[in-house]
């Protein structure tokens, strides 16, 4: 009973501390919110991310003597209408540049992509300067940048292809061979195939880029919003980082009590030291659970994050709580006073969070293999792994391995920390 009394008292104190509430709930929500707004903001109550509205003017036309079947500008246009980008790009055709510009001015679209009439001609002549014009709403930043990246990527490829084509023609002429212009379409086709493959390898293809943001999960619909999934992982990273911070910060109450003299007073009451430590552990445990639940509910309603099935979520959350509380006990056992606590917790947990991949949750494949390996030695890395599995739709059975690893880590850290505390306050 005294264990719960101590836990309740600690919880009351925590929830009356503006700093604690700020670090537990407000900071992770704000950070995730910043990322959310950076990627397009909310859409009038719709929980999904706003798609980037793109207007395309394709004025490109083939000359009468062209060897091509279709203008190359069509390739650029079709990129914005591809099924793979439908969830985050809403493209509309415009008949001319003036209409598209007017639509941007009225903020009906965020970006206008204008492919000029002579685009294919310039491409075939190997001109380096891109004639594709991008007009964007000056109040937007991310959307136009994404579109510009896509166009640049495509135009770079087109320009490179033009140069390659010119080089082939020149080399053939230099060797006294008359170029067979009928073969040009097949060359362009081969170059296009190679370029697409090359971009996939570099993760630069828009379709591939969408996969990097959030890989489609097994069992989920093909139309799942990749930005929502990206937000899910971002929020998970923030939630994990702040859960570990909360675990350690809450455990610091034992140092605070030592400095306030209330710990010594507790020792003069008929309350054994194990109960005191366990009471504090229970308070931290409950705090981290509540924090996780609040952040998950807030993440769901604010950012439309689909966390996964209840059993899987419960298992991942429990693993997170055990590991965060255990690490909290261990870290605080090494800290002498609350003044030392700030830098130790800030530095230690940020370092471990980085090693665990919490700040690069959305780009695991972009990280060096060594970093991914190191993440396996941090509790944060395993918690992130659990949440990734939950959001990928994996079953509770599949989650057992990371859960057991986290439970083992948590228990060992708690045991070592408790031993040190008992020795210190003996």
């Amino acid at each position: 009973m005294k264990i719960l009394d101590i836990a309740f008292k600690d919880l009351t104190r925590s929830f009356r501390s503006a700093f604690a509430i700020g670090m537990m709930v407000i900071a992770p929500l704000m950070l995730t919110g910043l990322i959310y707004f950076a990627f397009g903001g909310m859409s009038g109550g719709d929980v999904s991310m706003t798609a980037i509205k793109v207007g395309v003017v394709n004025a490109d036309q083939l000359s009468a003597d062209s060897v091509l079947d279709a203008p190359i500008g069509e390739d650029i246009r079709s990129m914005f209408f591809d099924d793979s980008v439908k969830s985050w790009i809403a493209a509309t055709d415009f008949k001319d540049e003036a209409t598209a510009r007017a639509a941007v001015n009225k903020q009906e679209i965020g970006v206008a992509v204008i492919i000029p009439q002579n685009f294919t001609e310039q491409y075939l002549s190997g001109e380096k300067d891109t004639p594709v014009v991008i007009v964007s709403d000056p109040t937007l930043s991310i959307g136009p940048a994404v579109v510009e990246d896509m166009v640049t990527m495509m135009v770079d490829g087109v320009a490179g292809g033009g140069i390659a084509l010119q080089t082939i023609l020149e080399r053939q002429q230099a060797n006294g061979i008359e170029p067979d212009r009928a073969q040009i379409p097949s060359w362009i086709q081969r170059y296009g195939d190679w370029y697409r493959e090359f971009q996939r390898d570099l993760f630069h293809h828009p379709e591939k880029a969408a996969l990097i943001v959030a890989a489609p999960s097994a069992g989920e619909s093909e139309t799942a919003d990749p930005i929502q999934k990206m937000m899910g992982l971002t929020m998970a990273g923030q939630m994990i980082f702040f859960a570990f911070f909360t675990g350690a910060y809450s455990m610091m109450s034992i140092l605070r009590e030592d400095e306030e003299g209330t710990l010594a007073r507790l020792f003069t009451t008929p309350t054994d030291r194990t109960s005191i430590l366990t009471g504090k552990f229970v308070a931290v445990f409950i705090t981290v659970i509540l924090q996780g639940l609040v952040l998950m509910v807030a993440g769901h309603y604010a950012f439309g994050i689909n966390w996964g099935g209840p059993a899987e979520v419960a298992l991942a959350l429990l693993g997170q709580v055990i590991a965060a509380t255990g690490l909290g006990v261990l870290l605080i056992a090494f800290v002498k006073n609350t003044r030392q606590g700030g830098p130790v917790l800030g530095g230690g947990l940020t370092g471990l969070g980085m090693l665990g991949g919490l700040f690069t949750a959305n780009m695991p494949n972009a990280m060096p293999a060594a970093m991914n390996m190191i993440a396996n030695f941090t509790p944060q890395g395993w918690v992130l792994k659990s949440w990734r599995m939950v959001m990928d739709g994996q079953s509770a059975g599949e989650l057992l391995v990371p859960f057991l690893v986290l439970a083992a880590m948590g228990i060992v850290m708690f045991a070592v920390g408790s031993f040190m505390f008992r020795k210190r306050f003996a």
Binding site: M1, K2, D5, K9, T12, R13, R16, S17, E260, G261, T262, A264, R265, L266, F267, T268, T269, P270, T271, D272, A426
Partner: protein, 311 residues
């Protein structure tokens, strides 16, 4: 019945012997003061009695329960008022008392009635919902004492509860101690203010350098110095010049320089004081002030240690 029995209690921290075989006892219902200068070992002694520190030798019993063999029972009989405020500033006075009551095993209606009663005793019923952090120093002291009284302990230990507070709060606390004692509680009161010890105590144990150097009632302790009177003298020059000559003067039991003044214990001030003036005159030393004090606990401590209590 003995409420407190301390037998050859010892505590060492490495080579430093903080308490070296302290022995004293207090009957149920009395006030025992542990008097001594800072660093005498008073706080270490009560830390062992209240279960904060494990003794390295000897034993102590609270209401017959050994603090070593049966610490839980000893703690149940004990209420401890720490020297510094040991409360939760972000909880209200009532929340603090409820929490500490629970730590002593109080629950339900009993807890509520005890908290109400203690709030009444410490005079904070009207402010019970305010956070302790917003209280004045004196009000915090009162809650600090109240938290030790919730479970109606047989013995209350108060560790220098009047250090650093205003005279009004000090008077309030001394009155509280007397009231508690009148209700039958045994009080172990540590202080380095001899006036407090003299005013409150049935028995006084004087402690110095980890040892109990004297134990008895106020009158018994005063009798230890006999009829000796303390004389404090201020000179117009360095005291060393004349100290040996005064030491050899008939009727001077002890003489030393303390806090820049010459302090002497003499058998009869009426007869000795003229001799001191005479010796000073011969040595061409001028006495600029004289203060004669009747024997008190300060004199006892000086008599026993050659040092002032506040050294």
């Amino acid at each position: 019945m003995k409420a407190i029995e301390v037998e050859n209690l010892q505590k060492s921290f490495g080579d430093f012997h903080a308490v070296q075989g302290a022995s004293f006892e207090a009957e149920a219902g009395e006030v025992l003061s542990l008097l001594g200068p800072n660093g005498a070992g008073k706080s270490t002694t009560i830390s062992m009695l209240s279960g904060l520190l494990a003794p390295t030798g000897g034993d102590a019993c609270i209401m017959g329960h050994s603090v070593i063999r049966d610490p839980e029972s000893a703690k149940r009989s004990l209420g401890v008022v720490p020297q510094d405020i040991a409360l939760y500033p972000d909880l209200s006075a009532r929340e603090n008392l409820v929490f500490w009551g629970k730590m002593y095993g109080l629950r339900g209606a009993e807890l509520k009635s005890r908290v109400d009663a203690v709030l009444d005793v410490i005079g904070l019923t009207d402010r019970q919902k305010d956070h302790v952090g917003k209280f004045s120093g004196g009000m915090k002291r009162r809650v600090n004492i109240g938290a030790a009284l919730l479970h109606k302990p047989d013995v209350v230990i108060m560790d220098e509860p009047t250090v650093g507070i205003d005279p009004q709060s000090r008077r309030h606390i001394l009155d509280n101690v007397r009231e508690l004692n009148q209700k039958g509680m045994t009080v172990l009161y540590t202080t380095h203010y001899m006036e407090e010890a003299a005013e409150l105590s049935h028995h006084i144990a004087i402690m110095d350098k980890g040892r109990i150097i004297a134990y008895g009632t106020h009158d018994e302790l005063i009798r230890m110095v006999g009829e000796q009177t303390r004389i404090d003298l201020t000179l117009n020059t360095e005291a060393e010049k004349i100290l040996d000559a005064w030491r050899a003067t008939q009727g001077v039991a002890k003489i030393d320089v303390i806090d820049g003044k010459v302090t002497a214990l003499v058998d009869d001030s009426n007869r000795v004081l003229p001799r001191l003036f005479e010796v000073a005159s011969k040595a061409n030393v001028r006495i600029t002030s004289v203060d004669i004090q009747e024997p008190n606990l300060e004199t006892v401590f000086l008599h026993l240690t050659g040092r002032a209590l506040r050294d």
